[in-house]
């Protein structure tokens, strides 16, 4: 035993009061916040007329009927590979952005970042900027402190409620659900979902903040694998800034950093970027804005903290110009990610366009393989599932090809047509019959082809199957 344990194995969260900052990245982040929040809150309210029997909500996850509507695309459960493909694309997109620009997802688009930013905005409006917040934090409880806290928490709670509330609109017709919610007439699942998401938004955005990024999210630990020396990321030009000195200590041979702590004060995760790359940095770039502001005031060039690639450090130390950004971004790794991403995208688009409007599957009934009828003819049965993806009822005609002797008959009707209700799957048992003396009845098996025609659009598709005869029996 050497040193005695002086520190606890656990520490309480250090409160962080990020200071307001303005600048190019802050402006970009405000705009991105507006766009991302608008997409989130407004999307369920977009309308799109799909016909009388289909929902007119542009984006809808209809769990009850197992349909996913995304504008003009409708996905049925058996086409879930489209969703899987989109997830793969999202993953590859994340790889691409991370390898090129580091944690841009974390810094600009992650819901945790966006909502925390929104909550910080509310906090500053209610309690004031960093210094006022610090004073209020240290002040004993008073009427004023209680009033400010209640105001802040109420606003947070309202935002959280709107956030949780917006989520459920993706899963049901938004105007109807909104009316039901207000009238306390909606399903319990809706209220429970809203309650849970309201609570998580309130707690994660208001109190957990950077703890989510540092201790709860796996992504910061994974993405290091996608970054390399050419990845552009927020960093401190230590070779230009050091040795740092402030006030009277500044002599001619000190660096540009005046140790004003502006970069630390604006950091939403409470770190010092001058310590180098670290896991807690979400690359929100606000320290760049803060430092640029200071550099401007003291008459130094901007960019003491900036988007940098590690591979440029030796060049800059030699006094040379860093390579341009595009040379860092355009490299084998990003090209491969882009190619993979685009490849999957094209594949999905291709699959989407060749997707037949008529969706049919044929399941031969093999228990028994065939039935002998009283006149000696051989009958096979097939369960045919016809999916009508249109907004109105559609008639389909079924025909069989493969041998002239084969005859088709539909269970329950004398016609060779079947009406499929809008947006439904119809199970139709179909019989194919061969006279006892005909070739298909005597053979072991005969290849057959079902032709299915949409009598409204005239579109025809075919599905191949097998007709079983007596064979050697």
């Amino acid at each position: 035993m050497s040193d005695a344990v002086t520190e606890s194995l656990y520490t309480a969260r250090e409160p962080i009061f990020p200071k307001t900052v303005s600048g190019r990245f802050r402006t970009l982040k405000w705009r991105l916040m507006a766009v991302t929040l608008a997409i989130y809150y407004a999307t369920p309210w977009l309308r799109l007329d799909r016909g009388p029997n289909l929902p007119d909500q542009a984006v809808l996850v209809d769990l009850a009927h197992r349909r996913f509507y995304f504008f003009w695309i409708e996905i049925w459960p058996h086409e879930f590979y489209f969703v899987a493909g989109l997830l793969i694309m999202a993953g590859l997109g994340l790889f691409l952005f991370t390898s090129a620009l580091g944690r841009v997802w974390c810094g600009y688009a992650c819901p945790q970042t966006v909502w925390t930013d929104l909550f910080l905005l509310v906090e500053r409006r209610v309690e004031g900027d960093r210094n006022a917040q610090l004073r209020l934090w240290n002040a004993p409880w008073s009427i004023r402190k209680l009033r400010l806290r209640m105001a802040k928490w109420s606003l947070w709670a309202l935002i959280a409620l709107a956030t949780g509330g917006a989520w459920v609109f993706y899963f049901a017709d938004a105007p109807t659900l909104a009316r039901d919610l207000v009238a306390f007439d909606a399903a319990p699942a809706a209220y429970i979902t809203i309650a849970i998401l309201t609570a998580t938004t309130f707690v994660l955005g208001g109190f957990m903040r950077e703890q989510v990024c540092i201790y709860m999210c796996p992504w910061p630990r994974i993405q290091a694998a996608m970054m390399d020396d050419d990845t552009l990321t927020v960093a401190y030009r230590g070779w230009r800034g050091e040795p740092r000195a402030k006030g009277k200590a500044r002599t001619d041979d000190v660096g540009d950093c005046i140790d004003c702590n502006a970069c630390v004060n604006v950091c939403p995760t409470g770190i010092d970027i001058r310590d180098g790359q670290q896991m807690a940095c979400i690359t929100c770039a606000l320290c760049i804005d803060a430092c640029d502001d200071i550099m401007g005031k003291i008459g130094k060039p901007r960019g003491l903290i900036d988007y940098l690639a590690l591979s440029d450090e030796p060049l800059e130390r030699e006094g040379m110009q860093p390579r341009p950004y595009w040379q860092h971004v355009l490299r084998l790794r990003t090209v491969i990610y882009t190619a993979l991403w685009a490849g999957f995208g094209l594949l999905l688009l291709f699959a989407l366009f060749i997707r037949a409007e008529i969706d049919v599957s044929v399941a031969p009934i093999r228990n028994p393989q065939f039935v002998t009828l009283s006149d000696g003819s051989i009958r096979n049965a097939y369960d045919i599932r016809l999916r009508n993806k249109h907004g109105e009822d559609r008639p389909f005609r079924l025909q069989v090809a493969g041998d002239l002797a084969l005859r088709i008959a539909l269970e329950g009707t004398d016609y060779e047509q079947v009406m499929v209700a809008a947006n439904e799957t119809q199970l139709q048992r179909v019989y194919v019959i061969a006279p006892g003396g005909a070739e298909p009845a005597r053979r072991d098996r005969t290849d057959i082809r079902f032709w299915i025609e949409d009598l409204v659009s005239g579109e025809r598709v075919h599905v191949d199957s097998i007709f079983n005869g007596r064979g050697l029996q």
Binding site: M1, Y215, T372, S374, G436
Partner: protein, 287 residues
Amino acid sequence: MSNKKAPKENDVGTTGHDWDGIQELNNPLPRWWLWTFYLTIFWGVLYTVFFPAWPMISGATPGLLGYSTRGEVAADIAAVDERNADVSAALASADLAALSRDDPAYHYGVSGGAAVFRANCSQCHGSGAAGALGYPNLLDDDWLWGGTLEAIEYTVRHGIRNETDFDSRWSEMPAFADILEPEESAAVVEHVLAISGQGHDAVLAANGAPVFADQCASCHGDAGLGMQDLGAPNLTDAIWLYGGSREDIAYTVANARFGVMPPWGQRLEEDEIKAVTLYVHQLGGGE
């Protein structure tokens, strides 16, 4: 080199553990993790109080909420039954022949009938209803006792040749070994082969025709087309319950063969009888 300590500038403390100069760094965990951990323990204990948990000599502690998976299944079944009560009652009182295929009761009947069939009928008729030697195939268009909804329902309800239901369908073919001379039997077998369009001895078949008219036509009809009121099979078609070869027919003529079916009216509910009737009728042979 070997004396190199933990990096000083990071200001990471140690736990005080030191093994041969190897120190354990202390990067403190957030305290809310600790509290979350305690909370999960508390939750776990609470869980064992409210739900079945601790194993005892004969079973586990039931838990304050009285939850059990069996109870959940029972509640689910009760909920389904309650949801289906209306359609089930409608089916039980329905006139099957008049029931539209678009009626919810029809769909309920066909789906439910499939389950009733699997549980009660498939042992003899097969899970695909294709039957077996001596057990009729319910998929084809040949019916011993009739293939209308009414006839099927009667057969299901009362069964065939059973002693427990007075209304059960009944007929018995005599064993002709005791009645006919061997050459008469052989001749009538050739006649049956002839009327069913199979290879036969024309002379013997001609001799068998009067024997058939005397002995068989009363049930099977003059032309051998059978009689559904008596459950007498059509002998001219391609479907044979006990086989259609010369040997099979000779055995049936000599010994007589017929099956028995229990009266399901005594075991199944009214809606189940109607359901299985609808199911069998739509298998491909319903009339």
